[in-house]
């Protein structure tokens, strides 16, 4: 976004570059547009000197970087680390590891326009170039850690919904393309996706990246492309097996009562808000009452029955 179009009373949308803001920005005057973090570095550099600042970090990315560490991690919050630190150090040392002892799955860096990195990137030294090389970016400095309870197509869709919301609508690839990406992802997470959709997803994401006018559109497909690259199997599972291994995509889940374990107490049926649970004719050996069954066409997958069952008879498949 060029600086100050709104301040000039104009519609907030990107303009053609050049001229860049440093040459012609607010009211046509040279303008300095930087993030708060950049400006915050200036007094320290002036006080302690450029040599001191350059002594921290890597060859091409000097100094420190602030990240907003979030997600399924024990210690969340803002952290300031030297450039060149590895993801492993951030997640396991500063972040104190994954919550509840679960398995690390991915980390989204750079905000909605960034990408998802995986376990194979844990020992990558983080700087501007290495993140781009790994298919993500420094971006906003966001760092969202995910474990096995995160569904990657759903994560991609979540970020795309954000970009659709943020698109100004000026260029066609971002205005319509991101909407279509989002719709294809919805199809996939709803269990209506096909292998052709996966192909279309990749092509469309690549074209949007290649043709969009501004930085938002050029990076908005990153979550799609990086999850396609790193979690292809998970996409295929959604499309071919109609399964969501993380148990996130509700339309791909079914709640099932194990008739052998069910004692027929009926507590699940009482708590069901849509009366999807009824009694069968079958009484399991050793039990007095006939076991219950869930009508999947009525079930809204709210999870109330699981919480009500004290006998572990209900599971998600």
């Amino acid at each position: 976004m060029p600086p100050g179009r709104e301040l000039e009373g104009q519609r907030g949308e990107p303009t053609l570059k050049p001229p860049f803001p440093a040459v012609s920005g607010y009211m046509g005057k040279p303008s300095n547009v930087n993030n708060v973090e950049t400006f915050a570095n200036v007094p320290v550099i002036i006080t302690k000197g450029a040599a001191w600042f350059s002594s921290i970090g890597t060859e091409k990315s000097k100094g420190t970087k602030v990240f907003a560490l979030a997600g399924q991690i024990n210690n969340v919050g803002l952290i300031e680390v030297p450039m060149g630190i590895t993801l492993r150090e951030i997640i396991y040392e500063i972040g104190g590891g994954i919550k509840n002892g679960r398995q690390f799955k991915a980390v989204q860096t750079g905000g909605p326009s960034g990408g998802c990195l995986t376990a194979k990137h844990l020992d990558t030294a983080i700087d501007y170039d290495s993140l781009v090389a790994a298919g993500s970016m420094m971006g906003s400095g966001g760092m969202v850690v995910m474990d096995e309870t995160s569904c990657m197509p759903a994560i991609a869709k979540f970020y795309l919904e954000f970009t659709c919301e943020e698109s100004c609508g000026k260029c066609s690839p971002c205005r319509i393309g991101n909407k279509r990406l989002c719709e294809i992802l919805e199809k996939i997470t709803d269990g209506r996706g096909t292998m052709e959709d996966l192909q279309e997803l990749r092509n469309l994401a690549a074209v949007i990246k290649d043709t969009a006018l501004c930085g938002l559109g050029q990076t908005s497909p990153n979550p799609v492309l990086s999850t396609l690259d790193n979690f292809w199997d998970e996409y295929v599972e959604h499309v071919v097996d109609k399964k969501c291994r993380a148990g996130v995509c509700k339309k791909l889940m079914s709640y099932v009562i194990d008739r052998e374990k069910c004692i027929g107490c009926g507590k699940c049926a009482k708590g069901c808000p849509v009366e999807a649970i009824s009694r069968t004719d079958y009484t399991a050996p050793g039990h007095k009452l006939a076991s219950m069954v869930i009508d999947s066409t009525k079930c809204i997958k709210c999870g109330a029955c699981i919480n009500n069952c004290k006998f572990g008879a209900i599971s998600i498949q």
Binding site: G169, D210, T211
Partner: protein
């Protein structure tokens, strides 16, 4: 000069040239959708938004929009690599996926740039299915808006804000719901819109179209109780032929008159005739104001022309403090209507309500002018229906006629004879030149040494000259585009520092020949140039070239009006203006 290659062809172009222009200069036509330029008329729409013109530039990370990327030394550009074609097709497929695709019933069928782009790229199906964006339909008397078809090219917005400075249209809403519309959910008719219709002329698709009045005219013709007469504006005769495959600039005056008769109009008259009448009134008014000024009496100068209805609405909305500056003379359409209903109807032996007056105009604002309350008597408008050049072409085709096959016929009398001064009303500078021809001779009593005023001709948006009126230096200006007109009005507010006496204003590019009701020129300004050449050719070929020498005009003054600016002509041929600035309150 910059050296580069496009599609491996070495070329040399001046610095500052875009890749698009460099390619077109060298015979490579990169397709575009949003880009639009009127060469030499100070209008360019280059938002870089559609991304159809993307090309591959060696060493660049992403594809570059050719319309908005300047050439650089050593650049290697590919306009049709597999990567480019795939991206271009995908972008157009995306646009089509958010388009109604009702081409068969669309007003723009056959004239749609998205349609031809789809054909050119060989798109056979749209792989993307999903939600389509929608916005409520809206219409003024001139412009119909179906924003479901909008492709966000922003041409209308640029035309409205930069060229016309009307400020009615701009991008509203965000993302997928983004659309071009008036601010604050206003209807276009309640906005600062002046109905110039240039948004329609530049719209690449069917989002902005004219209000079609053909059926109403056909019904009037079919009604045996009505006598239906038609008038045709100067600029129509040099553009109508384009709709029938003729070269731009072919003059079809006689064929058009013949076609109109075959369509069933009872009498076929000429707005050129009333253009001559306008000159008599407006020229006399100018001389009257000048005489007062010379006598030291208070008088409003400069006088502005008032024949362009978009311009009239523009000053009513934007300059309500200056309403006494424009001439009070009605436009030629308005004058014809008044003469037809007051003078002609009794002559033809019909009541004014039974005389249906139809205009053929190069203009969409004329549809709104026609409906002005002060141009009606007891609710019966002086002009009942206004059709554009394009609608006339539709009507001719609908009625199984081909303009090419028509014989040359004359207009009917007595509202049919005209001079060269009248036909040049169709081009920027023409009203001024016509007025000068008459005002000079009436004022000085001498014959003009040279009838052609070259100072007022040509495509400059602002032309200024001092004309020697037998010793009196008459300072004139000629402008087109309401942006230029605004500058002139602002000068008047500042006390007229340049001392202008007379200023001609036409809203559209090049004057009425570039009007919004004319055949679509699709940004080819050569077409408008050819129409202008034709206008001056028609003028040069006329036996009489000064309005005050038109025998039919002289006759009607003798028989009916008495004298220009006399009592009766004031009543019928002059009008007044209204403060319409309340239309702008919401956007202030």
């Amino acid at each position: 000069m910059i050296n580069l290659t496009i599609d491996n062809k070495p070329i040399q172009v001046p610095e500052g040239t875009t890749i698009l222009k460099a390619a077109r200069m060298n015979g490579i036509d990169i397709p575009t959708l949003c880009h639009f330029e009127l060469d030499g008329m100070n209008f360019e729409n280059k938002p870089g938004g559609c991304r159809v013109c993307v090309v591959e530039v060696k060493g660049r990370r992403n594809l570059a929009p050719a319309c908005a990327t300047d050439v650089m030394e050593g650049m290697e550009v590919l306009t049709h690599s597999a990567r480019v074609i795939n991206a271009r097709k995908t972008v157009v497929e995306l646009i089509l996926s958010d388009h109604p695709n009702d081409c068969l019933q669309c007003e723009k069928n056959g004239d749609c740039e998205l349609q031809s782009l789809t054909k050119r790229l060989g798109i056979k199906e749209i792989p993307f299915k999903g939600e389509t964006s929608t916005y409520r339909k809206d219409s003024t008397l001139s412009v119909y808006r179906d924003m479901d078809k909008c492709v966000m090219c922003r041409r209308c917005e640029t035309m409205c804000n930069k060229f016309m400075t009307a400020g009615a249209l701009s991008g509203v809403n965000r993302g997928f719901q983004a659309v071009v519309a008036p601010a604050f959910e206003q209807n276009l008719g309640d906005s600062s819109c002046v109905n110039c219709g240039q948004c329609v002329q530049v719209c690449p698709v069917g989002a902005l179209t004219l209000v079609d009045d053909i059926a109403k005219v056909m019904n009037a013709i079919a009604d045996p109780t009505k006598k239906v007469v038609v008038q045709t504006a100067p600029a129509v005769r040099v553009a109508l032929g384009e709709e029938f495959g003729m070269k731009p600039g072919e003059i079809v005056t006689g064929k058009m008159a013949a076609a109109l008769r075959r369509l069933g109009f009872d009498q076929v008259y000429d707005t050129d005739w009333s253009a001559d009448l306008t000159i008599m009134e407006e020229g006399t008014e100018l001389l009257g104001r000048l005489k007062k000024a010379l006598a030291g009496e208070p008088v409003k100068l400069p006088m502005f022309t008032s024949c362009c209805p978009a311009w009239v609405t523009f000053y009513e909305k934007n300059f309500p403090d200056l309403l006494e500056y424009p001439s009070t003379a009605k436009s030629p359409q308005g004058m014809f209507g008044a003469v037809a209903k007051n003078y002609l109807a009794p002559k033809l032996g019909v009541k004014r309500e039974d005389l249906v007056v139809v205009s053929i105009m190069p203009c969409l604002a004329k549809k709104s002018e026609r409906a002005r309350e002060e141009l009606a008597v007891n609710g019966d408008s002086d002009v009942n229906y206004t059709l554009s050049t394009r609608e006339l072409a539709h009507m001719i085709r609908q009625c199984n006629l081909d303009l090419n096959d028509m014989p040359e016929e004359d207009f009917d009398s007595p509202l049919g004879q005209s001079t060269g001064a009248a036909v040049i009303f169709g081009a920027t500078g023409g009203v001024m030149e016509a007025a000068l021809r008459t005002a000079y001779e009436v004022h000085t009593g001498k014959t003009l040494p040279k009838i052609d005023f070259m100072e007022t001709r040509g495509f400059d948006g602002v032309k200024e000259a001092t004309i020697d009126f037998d010793g009196f230096p008459l300072k004139i200006a000629v402008v087109y585009s309401l942006g230029n007109a605004r500058k002139m009005m602002e000068q008047v507010r500042q006390g007229n520092p340049n001392g202008y006496h007379f200023i001609e204003v036409m809203a559209c590019p090049g004057g009425c020949i570039g009007g919004a009701g004319q055949p679509y020129h699709h940004g080819n300004s050569d077409i408008i140039r050819k129409r202008m050449e034709a206008i001056y050719r028609e003028d040069a070929g006329k036996p009489i070239r000064k309005s005050h020498e038109n025998p039919e005009i002289l006759a009607i003054y003798k028989e009916y009006y008495g004298e220009p600016c006399g009592h009766l002509s004031h009543e019928q041929l002059h009008t007044h203006y209204f403060d319409k600035s309340d239309k702008l309150e919401a956007t202030k």
